[in-house]
Symmetry: none
Subunit: 145 residues, 2 copies
DNA sequence: ATTCAAGTGGGGAAAAGTGGGGAGAAGTGG
DNA sequence: CCACTTCTCCCCACTTTTCCCCACTTGAAT
C-alpha cells in the first residue's frame, strides 16, 4: 500500500563527468538522499530510503551460514552507494557501478514500481524487443490483467 | 461491482504535440489523474486510479527473484505513465507508448467497461472487420450470453 | 439565429535536461 | 611537509521540451 510507484521510461545521457539527470517526475518520491546499487539483469537499482530499509530487512533474514547467501549479500551491499543529487537533479554514478551496468553515453531510466532502474540504452532496447514478443503470454500467466 | 462502465467508440486526433482529447463522456469517471499503459493487442489501456491500484497490488505479490516476473513487471511499468489532462481535457501520449500502439494522426478511443482503450485508426478498423465476422461465434464461446 | 459544449491548433512562458568552468578537497610523489 | 595533479562538487549558461493559456471551428440544443 505504502511507498512510491514509479512508472515510465526516460532516455537521458551520462555526461563526461559521470552524471545523469533523474527524471523530474521521480525526484519528489526519491527524496534528498537515496541508494544506488547493482541490480539484477545488468542494470542498476535505485531505491528511496524506505524501500532500501525494507530490502535490508529482508537481507537480514537470510541465514549467514549459507555460502551463496553470504556471497550475494557481500556483492550486493559492497556495490551500493548513497547518492545525493545536485541542484540540477543529477547524480554521479560511481565507476564500479557504471562498469557493472556497462553504461555508455545514453541510458534509459525506468520506473518499476517501488524502485527505479538505470540501463544502458542498447542493453534495454535489446531486452525490450524480446519482451514485446512474450508480453501477451506473460500478461495472461503472471497477472490476471 | 464498483468502478466505471465505459462504453462507446470515438474518433479523435493526435496533434503534432502528441496530445489527444479524451471523450467528454469519459472525463468524470477518469478523474483528474489516471494511468495509461501498454495493453494487449497493440493498443493502449487507460485505467482509472482504482483499477490501476488493483493491478499494482497484483504485481507486488510477484517475487522479484523470478526472472520472467521481473522482466514482465519492468516492461509493463516502464510502459506506463501517469496522465493529467489539461484544461481542454487532453493528455499527452509519451513517445514510447505512441510507438507501441503505432499511433498516427487518427486514433479511436473505445469504452470497454472498466477501462478505456486507445487504438490507431487503421489498426482498429481492421481488427473490427475481423470481429464483425466472428461476433456471433465469439458470443457463444463467452459464457452466459 | 444564438448559445454552448466539445474538439483542435498553436504561441509563449516556464521547467527540464545538458554542458562546462572553476574553487576546493583529496590523493600522490618528492 | 610541501608541491603537484586529480577528482569532486557547486554554480552559471544554453537548448529543448513541456505545459498553460487563448482562440478558432463545428455541431447540437434552445
Amino acid at each position: 500500500m505504502s511507498g512510491a510507484n514509479f512508472v515510465g521510461e526516460y532516455l537521458h545521457t551520462l555526461d563526461t563527468k559521470g552524471r545523469v539527470a533523474l527524471p523530474a517526475k521521480f525526484r519528489e518520491a526519491l527524496g534528498p538522499k537515496f541508494i544506488i546499487a547493482r541490480g539484477l539483469d545488468k542494470c542498476l537499482f535505485v531505491y528511496p530510503n524506505e524501500e532500501w530499509n525494507q530490502v535490508m530487512e529482508k537481507l537480514k533474514t537470510i541465514p549467514i551460514s549459507k555460502k551463496d547467501a553470504r556471497h550475494f549479500t557481500r556483492y550486493f551491499l559492497s556495490g551500493a552507494t548513497e547518492a545525493e543529487p545536485d541542484k540540477q537533479g543529477r547524480v554521479v554514478i560511481p565507476q564500479n557501478l557504471r562498469d557493472y551496468a556497462r553504461l555508455n553515453k545514453d541510458v534509459f531510466i525506468l520506473g518499476v514500481g517501488s524502485r527505479i532502474e538505470i540501463w544502458d540504452k542498447d542493453a534495454w532496447e535489446e531486452t525490450k524487443i524480446g519482451l514485446e514478443a512474450e508480453f501477451s503470454v506473460l500478461a495472461e500467466s503472471v497477472a490476471g490483467i
